[in-house]
Amino acid sequence: MPTREEISEIVIGSLAETLGIERNRISLDSALVADLQAESIDFLDFIFRLEDAFNIEIDRDELFPNEIARDPNAVQQNLITEEGVEQIRRRLSFTDLPSLRAGMDIKTFMTEMLTVRVVVDYIQSKLNQSTALAG
């Protein structure tokens, strides 16, 4: 299984290819949408590259909680509810989301808090799962 550094390298490389930008413009703290201007079509490409590179299957909603964003119990008038915070934390349990709190604008969350680090955390947990299953 690749180390965390190796995972980060591959994630950043895939993202650079997807977005047509230099690797050195991307760090673990870069937010995919707010910092790197990723558009919806880019996520298709990015996920495809990650699946290919790590030989895993990625359910887009596991990583980008669009479904929760549309749930009226989780988001009301564009603001994340207590229930929403819980749902997101459960769904994205593979990563820390220290600044996520109720009352936050869902758009802010989706554009600013989904960083490269979240993706790396996700891949690492997926690889751990499959190693555990194989073991």
Binding site: T18, G20, D42, D45, F48
Partner: protein, 432 residues
């Protein structure tokens, strides 16, 4: 054209085997240089035919604002983007100076090149235990191995779509896919859109990029490609007794068409006026033209009627000149019938002798040459014309460019499927 709204050409852009911009393309044509050469893009040694009209050293990056978009753009879209953006700059247009909702895009393009490498790997992985293609395996393999944006490289209308996004053209858009006349028809149809008042500015043109093994094999199987042992530069020889077929080429061209008053209001430089357009169908054969060029005659007559001009008013014709003997003969016959005695006095030349046949782009590339002829008073030659084929005895401006100050020029195209077009341009002289 008889509408109160007149259409003028205010910008030109071209990427072709002779050059990746208007100036190098035009000076190459006037020098009678051939852009046809040994194919470089793939290993062509032993491949038949090993020559084509390739666009050389093309760098798409400079024509795309976002590099990531290039991977969704097939080569035909990349070439079109380059031509469109060059025409936009040439017309000195700016996004701010345009009403985006009255700015449109119409492009001609053809069957798109297939990336054999993409599909080949999946096909290999889809072989079942008995070695035969297994559709279920293909379903599984393709869902994990096929680039998800692959389809976007293979839809013809992505040309117009990408150009429209890039230049913020929110007006009418269309994609014309009538093979060898697509580029010319795009210009004609775009003129009609402006005439009827649905747009003030349209970038129209054509693009094609089928210099790839599969496309070449397909044309070869139909018997349309020249297969001979000559130097590549001498293979395309329209109207010559030794012509044996067309030479495949790639390229793109774009013309900025603009409503006259719109152009005047912004003080635009005007190259020429689009005064006539005619289109017609042979309704005769899938591959070959009607022997008398029936549809081409009709297209020419319609364009003349549209322009309110007599045949004698036309001083130059940018011929189709595919270098396919049956096509060339049909073209010569159509010209003789449509122009009567005047045919013998007309100068007509085929730039396919120098750049080959860029199919869906050819009509647009040739329209650019036609407009440049009016602007500069110089007609490019038909090179490789040593002895005229029987029945093709017209003045094809053989082998060297000619000074030719004319007021009215026509560009004609016809091809596959029996489509025919004629566009008439008038020199701009300050105009009334």
């Amino acid at each position: 054209m008889h509408s109160a709204r007149r259409v003028v050409v205010t910008g030109l852009g071209v990427v072709a085997p002779l050059g990746n911009d208007l100036d190098s393309f035009w000076s190459g044509l006037l020098a009678g240089r051939s852009g046809i050469d040994q194919i470089r893009r793939f290993e062509s040694k032993g491949f038949v035919p090993p020559y084509a009209g390739e666009v050389k050293e093309f760098q798409p990056e400079q024509y795309f604002d976002k590099r990531k978009v290039i991977k969704m753009a097939g080569r035909h879209t990349q070439l079109a983007m380059a031509a469109a953006r060059m025409s936009f700059s040439d017309a000195r247009l700016t996004a701010e100076g345009l009403d985006a909702e009255r700015f449109g895009i119409v492009f001609g393009t053809g069957m798109l090149r297939a990336d054999l490498a993409d599909i080949g790997q999946m096909a290999r992985m889809s072989r079942g235990a008995d070695g035969r293609f297994d559709l279920r395996l293909f379903g599984a393999v393709s869902s994990s191995k096929l680039f998800p944006l692959w389809m976007l490289r293979h839809i013809p209308n992505m040309v117009s779509s990408q150009v429209a996004i890039s230049l913020n053209a929110q007006g009418p858009s269309n994609t014309i896919t009538t093979t060898c006349t697509a580029g010319a028809q795009a210009i004609g149809e775009a003129s009609r859109i402006i005439e009827r008042g649905d747009a003030d500015v349209i970038i129209s043109g054509g693009s094609d990029a089928r210099v790839d093994p599969l496309s070449l094999v397909r044309l070869r199987k139909l018997g349309l490609l020249a297969i001979c042992q000559r130097d590549p530069q001498e293979v395309s020889r329209p109207f010559d007794i030794d012509s044996s077929g067309m030479v495949c080429a790639e390229g793109a061209a774009a013309l900025v068409l603009e409503e006259l008053e719109h152009a005047r209001a912004r003080g635009a430089r005007i190259y020429a006026e689009v005064v006539g357009y005619g289109t017609a169908t042979d309704a005769y054969d899938l591959v070959y033209p009607h022997p008398e060029g029936r549809g081409l005659q009709l297209a020419i007559n319609r364009a003349l009627t549209d322009a309110h001009l007599s045949p004698e008013a036309v001083g130059y014709i940018n011929a189709h000149g595919a270098s396919i003997p049956r096509y060339d003969l049909a073209e010569a016959r159509a010209l003789k019938t449509a122009f009567g005695k005047h045919a013998m006095r007309l100068a007509a030349s085929s730039i396919k002798s120098m750049i080959g046949h860029a199919q869906a782009a050819s009509g647009a590339i040739e329209a650019v040459a036609c407009v440049k002829t009016l602007e500069t008073g110089m007609a490019p030659p038909t090179i490789n014309l040593r002895r005229m084929a029987p029945g093709c005895d017209l003045d094809w401006v053989p082998n060297s460019a000619r000074q030719l100050a004319v007021e009215v020029a026509m560009s004609i195209n016809f091809g596959f499927g029996g489509y025919n077009t004629a566009l008439i341009f008038k020199r701009w002289s300050g105009g009334v």
